[in-house]
Symmetry: C3
Subunit: 465 residues, 3 copies
């Protein structure tokens, strides 16, 4: 059996002189609390604090980062339990076996890195997964899942998560968040995030039914706006710090109110055209910025994804199952109307995420390097890996400086990977800063100050914590 070990210098630069600097820097932030202002952990997981059911439903079944890699290598999603409810032990064990047998598919990916960290640090796994040891590892992990030390709240404490934002539907009553807020045993601050995408896309099937879940009279455009404003205030009252927006493009062109009202009515009638629905959605992103200036919610934007690229997989397994594919993004023109109006507004924080890495140096950094409202969101989703993180660091820093970065965002639903993801970011930040020190572009005291800022101060500032 090959050993699975975590080298203390992993991910630090290979050159010994630079590594020594990076190590000194990293040590100063390695144990800092985790601030996670954007992610997809279910608040009921923390509220209920039930033990995780089994290794497969913890590590594999819900994590499209993993299942898409196995799928591309020929493993059917059915065999991994994707889109299903709880798995029998037999099926969980089978999914875990497939995962271990295909461990080699993860080589060179960040998923592998996160897994190694989680397995070794959280479950004490010391062997490289393989077909041969799959059952033994399953038993080892499963045994610990039954212990109090590995229930969600215990892990939350152990991981040192100081702030954790979830992602929530505007119509959600946030009962779990309310209960968590009122529970003195929960030391982590857990906050909802306002995610209204579905309500802004008038052409979606079922939209007229959907908006009935909003409060008040949504039979008029004015009532719809008021309902969204009210729900935002409600989210704020329960600790929300941001509103998150993910649409196909980044358009923000406002419409005259009368035109917005007309399109809204046609959507209620079921006669809205795709072109009108797109215009309305872009208008609403502008409106969302206006509301953010009022209620203070940080606005995060992540355009540029073709959702559910493979219809058969959507039909069989549901959304978020690994077949969302990036498309090219344009921001300079798309955001101009919003920034024209709100780009220097003192209450607006607009964090721009992308899965098209070309826009870091071409658009995001130049925008963030002028507009006080704009921050360059950390690499996200497909780009949350060492190479793209280094690309982001270089592209953004050279043009806009460190102060325009958002700080790290883990964006994950894989609970056990949260510390590994933040740790990867800290190591890469340390390595990048060490390169600047080694090439005499920054003094080491400045590098350390910058690193602490990136890990701690900056996310608090950007997300108004």
């Amino acid at each position: 059996m090959a050993a699975l070990t975590l080298h203390p210098d992993r991910l630090l630069p290979a050159e010994p002189g630079v590594r020594a600097i990076a190590r000194r820097l990293y040590e100063q932030v390695a144990d800092r609390p985790i601030i996670s202002p954007h992610g997809h952990v279910d608040p009921r997981l923390i509220l209920d604090d039930q033990p995780f059911a089994d290794p497969a439903s913890l590590f594999i079944q819900p994590d499209h980062y993993v299942t898409r890699l196995l799928h591309s290598g020929g493993v059917p999603l059915t065999a991994l339990g994707v889109g299903e409810g709880p798995l029998s032990e037999e099926r969980a064990r089978e999914a875990w076996r497939l995962f271990c047998a295909h461990w080699h598919l993860l080589r060179g990916t960040p998923v592998r890195y996160w897994f190694e960290s989680s397995l070794a640090e959280v479950f004490g796994v010391a062997e490289r997964p393989s077909a041969g040891n799959a059952d033994a590892l399953y038993d080892q992990v499963a045994a610990q899942l039954g212990r109090d030390s590995h229930r969600p709240r215990a892990l939350l404490d152990r991981f040192g998560i100081e702030f954790l934002a979830t992602t929530d539907d505007p119509a959600d009553d946030l009962a779990a968040h309310r209960a968590l807020r009122d529970d003195p045993a929960v030391r982590t601050r857990i906050a909802p995030t306002f995610r209204p995408d579905r309500y802004l896309e008038l052409g979606r099937p079922g939209w007229p039914e959907l908006i009935k879940e909003l409060p008040g009279d949504v039979g008029t455009y004015a009532g719809y706006l008021a309902a969204l404003e009210e729900r935002r205030r409600y989210f704020v009252s329960l600790g929300a710090v941001s509103a998150d927006h993910g649409h196909f493009d980044a358009g923000t062109e406002p419409l005259p109110a009368a035109e917005a009202g007309r399109i809204y009515r046609s959507a209620l009638d079921g006669t809205v055209t795709p072109r009108e629905a797109t215009a309305f959605r872009r208008h609403m992103i502008f409106e969302m910025a206006r509301m953010s200036c009022d209620d203070g919610l940080v606005m995060t934007l992540h355009p540029g994804v073709w959702r559910n690229h493979h219809p058969d997989t959507l039909a069989g397994f549901g959304p978020d199952t690994g077949h969302d594919i990036p498309v090219q993004v344009e921001l300079t023109a798309a955001l101009q109307p919003l920034l024209d109006r709100f780009g220097t507004h003192p209450r607006l924080h607009l964090v721009l995420f992308t899965v098209d890495p070309d826009v870091y140096s071409r658009e995001i950094a130049p925008l963030a390097g002028f507009y006080p409202a704009v921050y360059a969101g950390a690499p996200w989703w497909f780009l949350d890996n060492p190479s793209e993180i280094r690309h982001y660091q270089r592209a953004v820093t050279e043009i806009a400086g460190f102060s325009r970065m958002s700080g790290f965002i883990d964006d994950t639903r894989a609970f056990c990977s949260i510390p590994a993801r933040h740790d990867m970011s800290r190591r890469l930040d340390a390595g990048f800063l060490a390169e600047l020190v080694a090439t005499h572009r920054l003094d080491e005291d400045e590098a350390l100050d910058t690193l602490v800022t990136l890990v701690d101060t900056q996310p608090r500032k950007v997300f108004k914590l």
Copy 2:
């Protein structure tokens, strides 16, 4: 005279610790057989086994990688014999002299690297080419070209080429391939590749005449489809493993059969519009995928090139003379119809090449990281160089892992450069893997296994050898 020497560690990482790992890895694959599943060697070169005529017609005249560099530096293509038949010794020598005198134009390019390897390893050249030694080098190379040791078959063996695919017209009778297949003295497996581009572009001048070269009744759309299917089967019967497609864009939208038939008839009548021709071509790429699912031919796609950008050069010297220029590529939307239907088909292998490197991380890797049919084609043409290969390795591996790579493709008509091109790839793969080992992201045994896979197993799997 400056020496020309090949350092044993060339192209390996500069940092001594990483280099030591890379060297250990490289040594394990340096002498592995060459698998070349896509290229442009003429099969009659091997069949006839005639000595190469002279250094210029071997190294310069047919190789647009070289001639465009000299042209950009002010050397007229006429002086290099581009687009001509056999050169007199005087003209060959003059072309060679121009090449040697402009050797500095190749600094920093992969062409220089390939040349150095070919000259040193195949012809024992030990001096850096220059105006001063051009004639002496010409004589040195020319003398060896006359020997049996330097005839095509001898070089084929010496280079260790186990599999070599050519690129062929669907109407070709493949007589050379048939003869090679039946010749027990040829140890290399030489296979044709089905390249139907011209037949799918209804708007090309002369298309109605061209398709008459296809068998059967091509007076109807159904007959045309049948003819293409038959030619594909014929290619398969003579060892073809792939069909290669290079059009301006990557569109794959199918048409209703009646509409396809209507456009086909209008093309026969000479009344097809450019828009119709484009729609038909995109439809046919979808059809080609369907046929690949039937007959098993691997489908390789390389969109995004503006062919013959300089009309005067086309008129004077013909196509493939160095003025094809890349354009931006879009794949996520373009391939969606094809992948919707065939993306999980067990017989489809779709290898995506690009000369727009932006799509590696934005589109190709995400597609290959979900669809079992999709492989990320190795950097090709303008991108077949150390920097872009490193970019590809990082972009694809981080998102989709090593298992979704195609393995190396030399794509060359420069026969003597084949081993140098594969060797460059092996060195760069070893260096990339060594970096992962040095930063503790991969154990060395895994790195070695991965390297052997990339060099040997993966191209066999992807190209169904």
Copy 3:
């Protein structure tokens, strides 16, 4: 107080072996004269040779590289005196204090690097700027500004600037250039640059008035062409070597003369449409290339910038105040008409700049690697930083070789930063070449020859000095 020191190896590669090579190379070019073929220094600065007024108006007020970074960090442009005339000492001192207090915003940017070099080398500053030492540094710099040693001409000599091009309006009488040419005390060759953008954009507000500043009868299209030709000749007569063109896109489609004339008349009438104005401007770029073939002016093109993205800032502070934002660029199609006609013309030098780095490998290098007229312009504006310069070096060299590069362009209005900008480029060129030597792709004598060429020979050749 933290020290500000310039390490002799700054910006050279961190790996000791590579650094040693880079240092040897760099030392050979460190003190070479500066050739600056594109920039924005006001010729009257040199002509009048008045002392610089104060540290803020020298270093901060006019430099949008600096002011946009401070603005993004929350410093109002008013506080920095942007867009104003001369500052009182009180206001200058306050701007300087804000700058020093926000020194950390510059970490990781090239602006910081340029500042450190300027402060240390030109003014002997040995302390890192901060709120605490702002007044002392102000006094230290201000005292030297009063000395003869720090007047513009003295600095011009001290910086070793052999050639300096300014940027000038076609209607400018170039009186300052004439006086400089006739002044034997000016050792630097100072040349105007023909920058006709405003005259080619018929749809600009005030265009009908603007063109009346051109000589002759501009009431007809023919007269307009003649006027531009005459102004070009006048610029040439006073030493101009290039014409510079910066429009939104790179289109070069010629129009029939009658159509151009029709649009021209409609612009005089004030009835031109945006579409017509764009078509005319693209036509005129083609015409500018034709004129360059006649009069020999090098043609520099830098498309792809959304000017004045924030209208309020434009209204309050004027143009060139930090809110120009890049957009995506397309060159292959856009330049095809121009290159079809003039791409092999022996008198055309077309230098392609970009702020969209994607086009280096996809379009610029392939174009420059075929067309003798095309050169790959050095990274410019947002891309004038170590990471993007390295990207450019790799992208262009691998595809087109060193001989197709333009040589460095500082493009600055920040007079004191000129030597630091060229020094950064020389260090990065040395480092890049050292990497090629260390990986055995180039011999050290070739690397040195290449470096000298890049620093000295190439800009003279490309800009016909």
